[in-house]
């Protein structure tokens, strides 16, 4: 019923806008707003062939198709959007519950004179996202949109007030399926230098913010060890944040606390959660330095207390490690935040050796050094009834004893001549697969060195050949890997690539397999077509701060995207 009402409202709006456009001059105004239509399509088809050697999964239908089409229509202060989604069936690696065709998102938005109201599905982030973030990542099958009302009001320059109220998208079965829970929240942010004209030109820039998010889910009682526990109806999270900029320095910090949230992630304990994120950066022309510290204790926060993994997260807790781009480093051992608790630090230096300097040469030389370390929390066992209620005791904000990850990487990028350019990256990981279970073959600490050389030869203005050579060395898990990639691009339309990954160091000789894959891409304007064929190994596919496991496969892949 609610869906029908929203859809009817949307239809009414777009047709009203269409009628209004037919007579732009009827009011005597020649400056009537123009309608604008934006949108995009994606069609992703995968054919699956059996391949027991690589453990390729083959669904019953032997093929899968994901597609979506977004339409966003703007007319003056009004915007309406709708997204059609189709899964027949979902590509492996996506939630296999996604099925059928239908509307996956719809909203109308009015924005005028500082007031911005959205009814329907919307995406929002408060501060760093530790209290609330809803977002859509179609390439990972993630959509935790709120379905309800959002109001943003900017009464004065520099002040932003937000309120959200709604249910959260959990699933898709020819229509949107929301969780039962309700999410309500408010956020206020003040940028002092915009609010107070006298401060506009000051070197020190100050931003203050605060947020509160509450979730309602009908409570119940559960019995554990002869004790009756009441699961609360309402759970709240509160956050405060500060942003400072002074000349070349910048500081960002946020603290969020959450109370009374027994859930499946924390084994239904009542301990308060807390999260701290701080960042300090210094940058000037040719140099950038950034330092981060993050502390997360019992901060899984979902609109369904029984949900796990990617389902119904209200907040967003990305890893403090760098997201890597080269295949072996990016997909074998990517780190993800341990929601129940971790303590981490990271730092990064970017430096450009100037042109015509000894190390810079004719074009300059770029260097970046990044390091991250994450451990468990410093906690103590409590025992007895206290353990049933609060789980454990937190002793300090410092590192606990268990190593979760170490990640050190160095990148050097150098343009050698007009034709040749080179990038070299070295990575060193210590990765705890007991904590982040990215592999079934080894439980414990994986120690690995990875080297990557990426060489490009642009032999004509629009023609280039690029080659990647990657080597991963480890005595644990699946052993050593090597990857080679050869790509030819003919700008602006064509690209052809062949990639081979070879697990030559696997202790099981039967698993020393070549994963050979080739693809051809064609781009014209906002349309892009890609067809690929071959073996893809199982791995972790990450975009931004989110990663999803993708199983091994063998077959044809077609990907078409278009924007307008």
């Amino acid at each position: 019923m609610k869906n029908s009402l929203l859809i009817s409202f949307f239809s009414l709006f777009v047709f009203a806008a269409a009628i209004a456009q037919e007579s732009p001059g009827s009011s005597g105004e020649n400056s009537a707003p123009k309608g604008q239509l934006h949108g995009n399509f994606q069609v992703l088809f995968q054919q699956y062939s059996p391949d027991s050697l690589i453990g390729a999964q083959v669904p019953d239908a032997e093929a899968a198709l994901n597609s979506f089409g977004n339409f966003t229509y703007n007319y003056g202060n009004l915007t309406a959007g709708v997204r059609f989604e189709s899964y027949h069936n979902a590509i492996l690696g996506f939630p296999n519950r996604f099925k059928g065709s239908g509307i996956g998102s719809r909203y109308v938005r009015y924005n005028n004179d500082g007031l911005d109201i959205t009814v329907g599905n919307f995406y929002e982030q408060f501060g760093t996202g530790m209290a609330l973030r809803t977002y859509w990542e179609p390439n990972l099958g993630i959509d935790n949109a709120l379905d309800g009302v959002r109001i943003i009001y900017r009464p004065y320059q520099g002040i932003s007030l937000k309120g959200v109220y709604g249910q959260q998208r959990l699933d898709f079965d020819s229509k949107i399926i929301n969780t039962e829970g309700l999410v309500r929240g408010g956020d206020a942010e003040i940028f002092m230098n915009e609010l107070i004209p006298k401060l506009a030109d000051k070197d020190l820039k100050v931003t203050l913010g605060g947020s509160f998010v509450s979730k309602y889910q009908a409570g119940t009682t559960v019995e554990r060890d002869s004790n009756i526990f009441t699961l609360p109806n309402n759970v709240g999270a509160t956050g405060a944040r500060l942003g400072l900029i002074y000349k070349n320095l910048q500081f960002t910090g946020e603290y969020v606390t959450k109370i009374n949230d027994p859930n499946a992630d924390n084994n239904y304990i009542y301990k308060n959660g807390q999260g701290i994120f701080t960042n300090l950066t210094y940058s000037q022309k040719g140099l950038g330095i950034t330092l981060n510290a993050k502390y997360v204790d019992n901060m899984a926060f979902r609109s369904d207390r029984d949900a796990l993994l990617f389902d119904a997260p209200i907040n967003f807790l990305p890893a403090i490690t760098r997201q890597h781009t080269y295949n072996l480093a990016a997909t074998l051992y990517p780190y993800a935040t341990v929601l129940n608790g971790e303590c981490g630090v990271s730092g990064e230096i970017f430096y450009m050796f100037k042109k015509d300097s000894p190390l810079g040469g004719k074009y300059g030389t770029y260097l970046s050094l990044n390091a991250a370390a994450v451990n468990s929390l410093d906690t103590s066992h409590v025992g007895g009834r206290e353990e049933l209620i609060n789980g454990y005791q937190t002793n300090s904000f410092f590192f606990g004893k268990t190593k979760y990850v170490r990640d050190v990487n160095l990148e050097i990028r150098k343009k050698i001549s007009k034709e040749w350019s080179l990038t070299y990256v070295h990575y060193y990981f210590e990765f705890n697969t007991l904590v982040t279970p990215v592999t079934q073959d080894f439980k414990g600490l994986v120690y690995t060195h990875i080297d990557v050389a990426d060489i490009q030869y642009k032999f004509r203005p629009k023609h280039a050949i690029r080659m990647e050579l990657q080597s991963l060395m480890t005595d644990q898990d699946k052993g050593n890997w090597v990857t080679g990639l050869l790509e030819y691009t003919f700008s602006p339309h064509w690209s052809v690539a062949v990639i081979d990954q070879y697990n030559y160091g696997n202790v099981d000789e039967d698993k020393r397999v070549h994963y050979l894959y080739g693809n051809v891409g064609y781009s014209k304007g906002a349309n892009r077509f890609m067809i690929g064929y071959g073996k893809r190994r199982a791995g972790i596919f990450c975009i931004g701060g989110v990663c999803r496991a993708v199983p091994a496969s063998n077959g044809i892949e077609i990907n078409i995207t278009s924007s307008f």
Binding site: S4, F10, S11, V14, F15, A18, Q21, G35, Q36, L37, F71, T72, Y73, N74, V82, Y123, Q125, G129, Y135, W136, P138, N139, R154, Q157, S160, F191, K205, S283, Q284, G286, L287, G288, T290, F316, P318, R322, Q323, H324, T325, E348, Y366, S368, Q456, K458, K462, H463, A464, T489, S491, P492, W494, S495, S523, G525, A526, R528, G544, G545, T561, S563
Partner: protein, 164 residues
């Protein structure tokens, strides 16, 4: 329900008959690197062209593309007066690396932070890099997805077309 779906499917077609053939820039509030609010619906360049380039610090082709544009930028500005807005879709994991990275490579573009992809989705971006060319009247007249070495030649050709 089927009628409603048909209605919705037909709506964009009906609208497209009345809609200008070129779309403009949606109005979304973003932050720049100094914390200032920027309304994307009000991006302007005194009647000269604008390039809007969506990128991320974790996207290698994006950085290659923008590093090449950075080398050409002074010449392009002299020839066509173009202004480049480099809109990053880095989320909270990496957004704090944007400013130090941009300063280290000395990009001279206007940088905007689209941390929750609100603007990129309103512009119909599926994956970065995605480049839009906006004419002096604020209309999107050309766009390009992905980056291959040499694509800057086509960007340059499109900019010169606007000049004439």
């Amino acid at each position: 329900m089927k009628k409603i779906l048909l209605l919705l499917l037909a709506a964009p077609l009906v609208l497209s008959m009345n809609t200008t053939q070129v779309a403009s820039i949606p109005s979304i509030m973003l932050k720049d690197l100094d914390g200032n609010s920027v309304d994307t619906g009000k991006l302007s360049n005194d009647g000269k062209p604008i390039l809007i380039c969506f990128w991320a610090t974790w996207c290698s082709p994006c950085k290659k593309e923008l590093n090449v544009y950075a080398e050409q930028y002074a010449d392009w500005q002299e020839e066509t007066g173009v202004k480049i807005y480099a809109v990053t879709i880095d989320d909270q994991r990496s957004v704090n690396s944007v400013k130090p990275y941009v300063n280290s490579v000395a990009w001279d573009f206007d940088i905007l932070l689209d941390v929750n992809k609100t603007f990129s989705q309103a512009m119909g971006v599926v994956s970065p890099p995605h480049t839009f060319l906006i004419d002096g009247s604020g209309n999107v007249i050309w766009q390009h997805v992905g980056y291959n070495a040499g694509d800057e030649e086509e960007v340059h050709e499109q900019l010169l077309k606007l000049k004439h």
